[in-house]
């Protein structure tokens, strides 16, 4: 192996370093502003404060009461977890049928699902709102879960179908010969083998749903079930905005995701990399 330190290596390292700084800058601003006392907010915008105000987090947490930040976090968690759970359950089952029962109907269904990926969901907001109002679910968790399951089902089915088609049929056939019914075969044999794509679906859709502002504002904005991005928005006032509290609450909103990633990253990466090794 060539271990000589050349200009090329130096240039590469320097580029990587600059890129790292660029990527870290927003994080620095986030933490720096969140810890600033009120009097330093506009006088020293770039400097890291010498007297960090940890109380900002407490103030941000208590700033809202109806609903509280804690309740909004819970709302976000319920909507995200609920949507992802239904997406994974229904999407994987649907893809299994499409992948394993080739025929005209399966082909047509698959085509329709793929078509669904192209349509931007914002286009359907008005009829959706009318439909939810007719169903009497506006402002509820259910409306958000139905919305997200519908929005992401095409992508979910697309991802699961592609992966299921690659799975060797031997596992399922072996289970069939062993006397397992279709549901036991799916849930005990096939579904665990889909772990890598389940991880992909959960992360892709989960992050989008957790961070979504637009749909949440329309469907649950102003209700007790507001999600955390909408709650953060309420910190921005017409005449006065306490940016240190806004940034503190953003950190609070990020924490569950960061904690989840730190705890689950080993399993997640193993799941992605593990695939279907026998």
């Amino acid at each position: 192996m060539n271990t000589r330190y050349t200009w090329k290596t130096f240039a590469r390292e320097l580029t990587a370093l600059i890129l790292a700084v660029v990527f870290c800058l927003p994080l620095y601003i986030l933490v720096s502003v969140a810890l600033k006392p009120n009097n330093e907010l506009f006088t020293k915008p770039w400097e890291f404060t010498s007297s960090p105000a940890f109380g900002n987090f407490g103030d941000a947490w208590n700033e809202r009461s109806d609903p509280s930040i804690g309740h909004s976090l819970l709302s976000s968690a319920i909507i995200t977890l609920g949507s992802v759970a239904f997406l994974v359950l229904i999407g994987s089952l649907c893809a299994y049928v499409i992948a394993r029962r080739p025929g005209k109907l399966s082909g047509l269904l698959y085509f329709l699902f793929v078509l669904g990926i192209i349509v931007p969901f914002q286009l359907c907001i008005v009829p959706l709102y009318a439909a939810f109002r007719w169903m009497g679910v506006t402002g509820s968790y259910l409306s958000m879960i139905i919305l997200w399951v519908g929005v992401f089902m095409p992508l979910t089915v697309f991802l699961y179908t592609g992966f299921t088609r690659q799975l060797p049929r031997d596992y399922e056939e072996s289970a069939r010969v062993d006397g397992a019914g279709i549901f036991r075969t799916f849930f005990r044999v096939v579904f665990p083998l889909l772990r890598p794509v389940t991880g992909t679906v959960a992360i892709m859709t989960g992050l989008f749903i957790w961070n979504d502002f637009f749909a949440s504002l329309i469907f649950v904005g102003g209700t007790n079930n507001e999600t955390i991005p909408v709650a953060i928005y309420s910190f921005v006032g017409e005449y006065l905005t306490k940016w240190n509290l806004v940034f503190a609450v953003v950190i609070i909103a990020l924490l569950p995701l960061v904690i989840f990633f730190v705890l689950a990253q080993k399993q997640m990466i193993r799941g992605f990399a593990g695939g279907i090794r026998g």
Binding site: D170, S174, V189, R195
Partner: protein, 365 residues
């Protein structure tokens, strides 16, 4: 029962039909007296071992072996005792908590066997279960599976494309070609009395020698005429094949196994040939001899030959163009013949095979 045949002959499809994994268009499949045509695979009471074992990678060895029992809602205590008993029988007890990926090929093979055994089914179906193992392990597992099958006394259908596996493991073997059963019977019978030229060429290693000859007849009896020489057929050969009279002055294929050819004059009718190659294998030597004649180049011959050696088809065609035939003689290891020697080769007449060139069928009665 072992299903054997070249790739694509339909042996795996036939096995899958028995298992219920493929639909059948006609005929009946019976387990004992019960017709199982329309019955779901899980209710046919058969266990299958797949080529790649199909062990569930996310389950422990215990769970893998227990799967068929759990699918049948067997009680927990019963599952535990039967899995442990099976694992002990196969030497897998210490691996029960492990995942399949941590086991070697041979151990995985045993787990797949365990999953089949634990149910105590009416029949085992095995689809080339040894093809993923290296040669040494294959020999070991071959005898392990044979012993296990004998001990358990369960009817087993075993699919393989390896004729050595078929010969050594089968009580009966069925040779298939292009979806059609060619012959079935005990291995020795199939080896000694092949029903057609395909079976004759496919079974045996090294394979049977073939050459084309014209059947002649004079006052003293029948003879096979080759370019420049003839081979007189003994009365026993002729009387065992009454149909032979219809082939007079017609060409047919003569087949003789390497061990049924003797080097040097032994008193019987013989052929003159030149030694072209000698392979010393330790316990025996294979002497390749060449003589003028026409090689048998039919579809069946090529298919059977290619299964052993991919270049065999071109070698056969080349020999046919040069009007030369190479025969293999199995001889003692300390033979004193040299390459280039002119030798007499004497076929053991009662082990001679004659085949119709068009249909490929053995000329018998």
């Amino acid at each position: 029962m072992v299903f054997v045949g070249p790739s694509g002959c339909g042996k795996t499809t036939a096995l899958r039909m028995v298992a219920g994994l493929e639909d059948i268009t006609e005929g009946t499949i019976r387990v004992g007296d019960k017709i199982v045509n329309g019955i779901d695979p899980g209710e046919r009471d058969m266990a299958m071992v797949f080529q790649n074992y199909a062990l569930y990678p996310h389950m422990s060895i215990f769970e893998n072996i227990a799967f068929p029992l759990r699918a049948r809602h067997t009680s927990k205590s019963e599952v535990r005792s039967r899995v442990e008993r099976t694992a002990a029988l196969l030497g897998l007890t210490e691996y029960l908590k492990r995942k399949p990926r941590t086991l070697s090929g041979g151990q995985r093979q045993r787990v797949a066997m365990g999953r089949a055994i634990v149910r105590e089914p009416q029949a085992f179906l095995m689809d080339e279960p040894l093809s993923n193992l290296d040669a040494k392990l294959r020999v070991q597992m071959r005898s392990e599976i044979s012993n296990l099958q004998r001990d358990l006394g369960v009817t087993t259908i075993y699919v393989t494309h390896d004729q050595v596996e078929a010969m050594t493991m089968g009580t009966r073997i069925a040779i298939m070609r292009k979806g059609v059963l060619q012959q079935q019977g005990p291995p020795q019978q199939v080896y000694a009395e092949p029903a057609n030229i395909f079976v004759a060429a496919f079974i045996g290693s090294p394979g049977m020698n073939f050459l084309q000859a014209t059947l002649g007849r004079d006052e003293s009896g029948f003879e096979l005429r080759l370019p420049g020489q003839t081979l007189r057929l003994s009365d026993a050969v002729v009387s065992a094949r009454p149909a032979l009279a219809a082939y007079v002055d017609r060409e047919l294929a003569m087949g003789i196994r390497p061990e049924s050819l003797a080097l040097g004059p032994t008193g019987g009718p013989s052929l003159r040939a030149t030694v072209s190659r000698i392979e010393v294998l330790g316990a025996e030597s294979l002497i390749y001899v060449t003589l003028a004649g026409q090689a048998v180049v039919s579809d069946e011959m090529i298919e059977a030959a290619v299964d052993v050696d991919a270049t065999a088809a071109s070698t056969l065609k080349q020999e046919a163009e040069q009007c030369q035939v190479t025969l293999i003689v199995r001889s003692e290891p300390d033979t004193d013949v040299r390459v280039g020697d002119q030798v007499n080769i004497t076929p053991i007449q009662h082990r001679l095979h004659l085949f119709d060139l068009e249909s490929g069928a053995a000329v018998t009665s």
